[in-house]
């Protein structure tokens, strides 16, 4: 079965630094998502992306966050100035359609020190 690939698997950064989390979705997917899970908490929706624009975002997804799909393959999540509370597991997801099965990557564990 095709897989969503996320890199890196672990990222450690200093507070205030910029990080970019990368995802390579499955090639025929059109809808893309970022979710995150803070340790001990629920998996939370961050943002959905379709047709090269954000289709929905949560309250968490403030001006410090951005997403893009610059080359039609990689789908990235950028955090401009990381805070301690951004430490979490970040999951990338993709689907062929809005009501289709959502495939997730294995996640990037972000630790902000």
């Amino acid at each position: 079965e095709p897989e969503v690939t996320q890199t890196p698997s672990h990222q450690v950064t200093q507070m205030g630094q910029e990080v970019i989390l990368r995802c390579v979705p499955i090639s025929n997917h059109l809808y893309f998502y970022w979710y995150r899970q803070i340790l001990g908490q629920k998996v939370e929706f961050l943002v959905s992306f379709y047709n090269n624009e954000i289709s929905e975002k949560s309250e968490i997804f403030d001006d410090q966050f951005s997403v893009e799909r610059p080359d039609g393959s990689n789908f990235t999540l950028k955090i401009r100035s990381t805070k301690l509370e951004d430490s979490a597991m970040y999951f990338c997801g993709g689907a062929r359609g809005r009501n289709e099965k959502l495939f997730f990557g294995s996640g990037t564990q972000l630790s902000v020190l």
Partner: protein, 117 residues
């Protein structure tokens, strides 16, 4: 607004015995419900999906779930647990605006399944 509540944060069973992971949902419309599993160091994998067809949904690895509207429940079951079933399980509902799915998923808190030999 849609939400799901997983009633147990941790379930422990012996290998070969039945598994029951409980989930209640809240939704204004007929919901789309899912169960996802996460094994250590792996991504979230879809076990099964309910979308208003048959109320008993069969998934992968011998799991199934029954949609009960009267009880607003979507419990996950398996007749006989295997050691490889030890993982984190998430009950999930699809977000909606009006009667349309948004594509966004709303996760429960997760249930850790421990399988003892």
């Amino acid at each position: 607004a849609q939400s799901v509540t997983q009633l147990d944060s941790h379930v422990s069973v012996s290998e070969g015995t039945p598994v029951l992971l409980r989930c209640n949902y809240s939704s204004s419309y007929s919901p789309s419900l899912f169960w996802y599993v996460q094994h250590p160091n792996k991504g979230l994998q879809l076990l099964l999906k309910y979308t208003s067809a048959a109320t008993l949904v069969k998934g992968i690895n011998g799991f199934e779930a029954e949609f009960k509207k009267s009880e607003t429940s979507f419990h996950l079951t398996k007749p006989s647990a295997h050691m490889s079933d030890a993982a984190e399980y998430f009950c999930v509902v699809s977000g909606r605006v009006g009667s349309s799915n948004t594509g966004k998923l709303i996760f429960g808190q997760g249930t850790t399944l421990q399988v003892k030999p």
